[in-house]
C-alpha cells in the first residue's frame, strides 16, 4: 500500500530530516511510527501526503508513484487518503457538518450523497448532536473526532494520523485510538505517528522507530522502545 524506497529529505545542506529510509506497509496494516521530536516522523507524514517532496528515492502509494506528483494531480491524490493532524486543521468559519462535507464538496460529490453520508460519519464518531456547532465551541477531543470524520468521509484506503492524541487528555486519547482501531477493522490501512508510549504498548501492532532520520527498528508486534 505504501512503499518508500531509499527516500531522503534534506531541507538544507545541514538539515537532513530523513536519510535513506526504506519502508513497505501492506494493505490493512496498523503501523505505529515512533520517535523523539525532530526524529523525522512528521516529515515522513508530509512526504506521504505530498505536502513535501523527497530529495532522493521514490514513494509509491496505492500503486501510484507520487515522488514527483504534479500540482494538477495533487488534489485528486489527497482526496483518496485520510489525514488526521495534531493541530486538527479544521476550518474555523465552518460548522462541524460543513467541515466534514467540505471534503466531499471539493471532490465534486453530489449534494444528495453528501446529505446521506455526512450524518452517518458524524454518527460513527459520536458527534450527531454537535452538527451545527463551530470548531471553536468544541473540546480538543471533539475537534479531533471531527477531523477523523472528515478524513473518513470519502472512504480512504489509507489513514495517516500525525500525533492525533498530542493535544488530548487520557480519556479522549483512548476514544480516538478506539476509533482508529475500528477504522482499521474495516480494512483501512492506518499509519499512526506518535510518541505516546502507552498507546503503542497497548496496540500490540507493528512499530517502526525512527531516530535522526533513519529507521532504527521495525517490529511486527512491537513496543515503545527508542
Amino acid at each position: 500500500m505504501i512503499k518508500l524506497n531509499n527516500i531522503s529529505k534534506k531541507y538544507s545542506k545541514d538539515s537532513v530530516a530523513l536519510n535513506d529510509v526504506t519502508l513497505h506497509i501492506e494493505p490493512g496494516e496498523f503501523v505505529s511510527v515512533i520517535g523523539q521530536s525532530g526524529s523525522g516522523k512528521t516529515t515522513l507524514v508530509k512526504l506521504i501526503i505530498a505536502e513535501e517532496h523527497v530529495t532522493g528515492g521514490a514513494i509509491e502509494v496505492g500503486g501510484w508513484n507520487i515522488t514527483r506528483l504534479s500540482q494538477k494531480h495533487l488534489p485528486y491524490y489527497r482526496r483518496q487518503i485520510g489525514v488526521i493532524f495534531q493541530d486538527f486543521k479544521l476550518l474555523p468559519k465552518k460548522t462541524v457538518y460543513e467541515n466534514v462535507a467540505f471534503a466531499l464538496e471539493v471532490a465534486g460529490e453530489k449534494t444528495e450523497r453528501i446529505f446521506d453520508i455526512v450524518p452517518k460519519v458524524l454518527d460513527i464518531v459520536g458527534l450527531t448532536h454537535k452538527t451545527h456547532v463551530y470548531p471553536t465551541e468544541l473540546s480538543g477531543g471533539e475537534q479531533q473526532r471531527v477531523v477523523i470524520a472528515r478524513s473518513l468521509v470519502h472512504r480512504p484506503k489509507i489513514l495517516v494520523a500525525d500525533e492525533p492524541t498530542g493535544n488530548l487528555d487520557t480519556i479522549n486519547t483512548q476514544e480516538i485510538i478506539e476509533i482508529l482501531k475500528r477504522i482499521n477493522g474495516f480494512g483501512t490501512t492506518v499509519l499512526l505517528v506518535t510518541h505516546n508510549r502507552e498507546i503503542v504498548n497497548q496496540l500490540k501492532r507493528r512499530v517502526i522507530a525512527i531516530e535522526n532520520g533513519t529507521i532504527i527498528s521495525d517490529k511486527k508486534v512491537g513496543k515503545y522502545q527508542i
Binding site: W64, H73, V106
Partner: protein, 320 residues
Amino acid sequence: MKTVQLFQIKKWVSIKYNMSSIIRVIKFSLQDIFRNFSLSLMTVMILVLMLLSVNAMVLVRVVTNKATTTIKDQIDVSIYFNNNATPDRVQELTSYIVSFPEITNYTFLSSDEALQQFKSTYGENQKIMDALDQLEENPLGPTIVLKTKEPSDYNKIIDALNVPEYRDTIEARTFEDTQRAIDKIDTITKKVEVFSLSLSIFFALIAFIIIFNTIRVTIFTQRTEINIKKLVGATNWFVRGPYLISSVIYSFVSTCIAIGIIFVAVSSIDPQFAEIFQQSDFLTSFINSSIILLFVSQFAIVLLLTIVSSLLAMRKYLRV
C-alpha cells in the same frame, strides 16, 4: 509482488467542474463574506474611500476644466477695419481671417452694427454719447470679433495680419492691449490643468497601492484556511473561486456606495458653482451624463485590481 492500482488518479482528473461546483464556490464566497463580516466591511470601506478619492479628483478635474474653459471663453479679439476701406477689401480680408483653422467662432459687424453695439455698451455714459452726436458720420468701421481654441492662437492670427499689406485696411486690434493678460491666463490655466492631472495620477496610484495591500491583508488572514483546503484535496481553482466571487461582490458594492455618495455630495455642492458657471446643475448633469461610464470604468478597474491582488497574494499559500 504484483502492484495493485488502488487509486485512480487519472480518472479523477478527468472530472470537470460542473454546475454544482460553481454553485458551491458562490455559496462559499457568500459564507466567507458574512462569516468574516468585519473583514468584509473593512475591505469594502477601504475600497469605497479609495473610490471616493478618485471620484473627487475626477470632479476637481471637471471643475478646473470648466473653469479654464469659462475663462478662455471670456477672451475674444476684435479687428477694427478702417472706415474708408472698400467693402471688397473688407470682404477679402474677412475671408482670409476666418480661414484660420484655430478660429472657433467669429462675428462680423457692419459699420452700422458696430455703432449700434457701441451705443448699447456705452449708452449710459452721456459724455461719450454727446461726443458721438457731434460727429456727423459714423466713425466706426466694420468689425470682426474672433474666438480661438486656445488663447495662444491669437498671436498667430495677429502676426499674420501684422504685415504692411493690411496696414491701410486694419485700424486697430484689441489684442495688443490685452496680450499680457491673455498670456497670463493661458499660463495659469495650463498650470492648473497640469497640476490637477498630476494630482489625479498621484491619487490613482495611492488608490492602487492601498487596494492591493488591503486584498493582501485579507488573504493573509485566511492563509491557514487556504492551506487546510489544499490539504483536504481542493484544487487551486476551488480555493481561488470564492475569493474571485468575493472580489466581484466587493467591487460592485463599493462602486455602488461610492457613486451614491458622490451623487449626493454633488447635489449639495452644485449650488456653489451656479453663479460661476451660470448653470445650476453643472456637476449633477456631468454625473448624470457619465454615470454609466463612471460606474463601468470604476467597477472594472477595482475588479481587475482586486482579482489580480487576490491571485498574486494567494499564489504563495497555494503551494502546499
